[in-house]
């Protein structure tokens, strides 16, 4: 009990002393930082919020920039994925050597190949009706053909009836009018048919020749099948006998 009273008395004494000391110390609170130091701190504080305000003022620019970057990235990805889809559809053999063609004009080649694949008689009239538009794309056709030749792309894949018709109708020797257009269409059918057969037959003949040179007797059976498929196709001298 006494010790508790002692502690209480000590505490009171301590608090009184601390209070007196605080009062004495209050009178000594005259020391302040130099004015230059004040200015340095205040300038730093003001600069910090000014920079913050500038950032907030132009915050919408950051949002806009982010959106633009996202759109750009998406468009690049979509553009790059065009040749892949083209190859997946079987429109162009997935040969690494031909990838440069895909990279050079992927959208153009894809459009042409799809147009060729979907070429239907019913659509021909529409294509002819759209001649002014195809006329505008004439240079693109020419470029496409050039690329195909350089890359040795099989013609049966790349040449469409539309392309042939477009090129033929735009030729200066051929006039205009429905009769002429029909004539051109008939010729175009023949051209497409011929061009679509040629390389395939040639390739088969080359394969048969290779079999023969390799001493594989299968070449005879393959040649027989070839003659059945292409009865009028001229055979090389080596296979004639």
């Amino acid at each position: 009990m006494n010790s508790m009273q002692d502690n209480g008395a000590h505490d009171r004494s301590f608090k009184d002393d601390l209070e007196k000391l605080s009062q004495a110390y209050q009178q000594l609170k005259t020391e302040n930082p130099p004015e230059l130091l004040d200015q340095a701190v205040l300038n730093r504080a003001h600069r910090a919020v000014e920079a913050q305000a500038r950032w907030l003022d132009f915050g919408w620019i950051h949002g806009l920039t982010t959106a633009a970057v996202v759109v750009l990235a998406l468009s690049i990805i979509l553009t790059q994925s065009q040749p892949l889809r083209f190859e997946e559809n079987g429109m162009l053999p997935a040969d690494p050597a031909r990838k440069d063609v895909g990279r050079a004009k992927p959208a153009l080649i894809a459009a042409k190949a799809q147009a060729g694949a979907k070429a239907r008689p019913a659509a021909d009239r529409e294509e002819l009706d759209e001649l002014p538009a195809t006329k505008a794309a004439r240079s693109e056709h020419a470029l496409l053909e050039e690329d195909m030749v350089q890359a040795k792309v099989p013609a049966e894949v790349s040449v469409s009836k539309q392309a042939v018709v477009t090129l033929a109708v735009e030729s200066p020797e051929i006039g205009s009018g429905p009769a002429k257009i029909d004539a051109v269409k008939t010729d175009a059918d023949q051209i497409v048919a011929e061009r679509s057969q040629l390389p395939a037959a040639e390739a088969q003949l080359q394969a048969i020749l290779m079999l023969k040179h390799a001493g594989n007797d299968r070449w005879k059976a393959e040649l027989k099948l070839f003659i059945e498929s292409y009865p009028d196709y001229p055979l090389p001298d080596e296979l004639e006998n």
Binding site: Y25, L28, E31, L37, D38, A45, A48, V49
Partner: protein, 206 residues
């Protein structure tokens, strides 16, 4: 004149400045009515004037805290500026749930401890040099012998006791808050204060 920290103010919504035509005088008066916590929040939201008010309230206490802890004035100035720099940088991290004074002096205490660690060893040399400090001529004229005597005795205290005593005298924080700020128990704070007060009492009586 610094009127002490607003410690017991509960976190409330920051009042909007008065609408209409704001004269500079009324706006300054409005700022003066705001608590430290509200001013700090205002500053965190980009109001530089709020910082001016906050700085005016605490500049003296923080400066004296460092001035009486370290040897030379240049070091005290560096420490003082460094703490404000930290406060400015950490303005968005400040939460009004904790009293600003306690938050500021926690930064100051940690800054001082870092300084001590960098300038090892902190022993009697530091304290001796502190004891050698002389008041500025103006202060000497104002407060006379008492100022010098008390300052010398405070400077002669062991660093932990001196730090605890200065936190108490400069900020008016409660013992629990000082304990929380310095990372020791309340009893340790009380013990350090008791020793410090007794030593100063004896020396002042002598």
């Amino acid at each position: 004149m610094w009127e002490g920290p607003a410690l017991l103010v509960p976190p409330t919504r920051i009042p909007h400045p008065p609408l209409g035509v704001l004269s500079r005088i009324s706006y300054a008066a409005f700022m003066r009515e705001m608590t430290d916590e509200q001013l700090m929040q205002q500053y965190a939201h980009g109001n530089a004037k709020a910082f001016d008010q906050l700085y005016a309230r605490h500049r003296g206490a923080l400066y004296r805290y460092f001035r009486r802890q370290v040897r030379d004035e240049a070091t005290a100035n560096d420490l003082y500026q460094g703490v404000w720099e930290k406060i400015i940088r950490a303005r968005r991290k400040y939460r009004s749930s904790s009293p600003f004074t306690a938050w500021m002096f926690r930064i100051a205490h940690n800054h001082l401890v870092d300084h001590y660690r960098r300038t090892q060893p902190l022993t009697t040399t530091e304290m001796d040099s502190l004891a050698d400090q002389r008041p500025e001529p103006v202060q000497h004229a104002v407060d006379g012998q008492q100022w010098q005597h008390l300052q010398e005795n405070i400077a002669a205290l062991p660093p932990e006791q001196r730090n605890t005593l200065l936190l108490k005298l400069e900020t008016g924080l409660k013992m629990e808050e000082i304990a929380n700020l310095t990372g020791v128990s309340r009893e340790t704070v009380k013990s350090r204060l008791r020793y410090a007060v007794n030593k100063l009492k004896r020396s002042l009586v002598e």
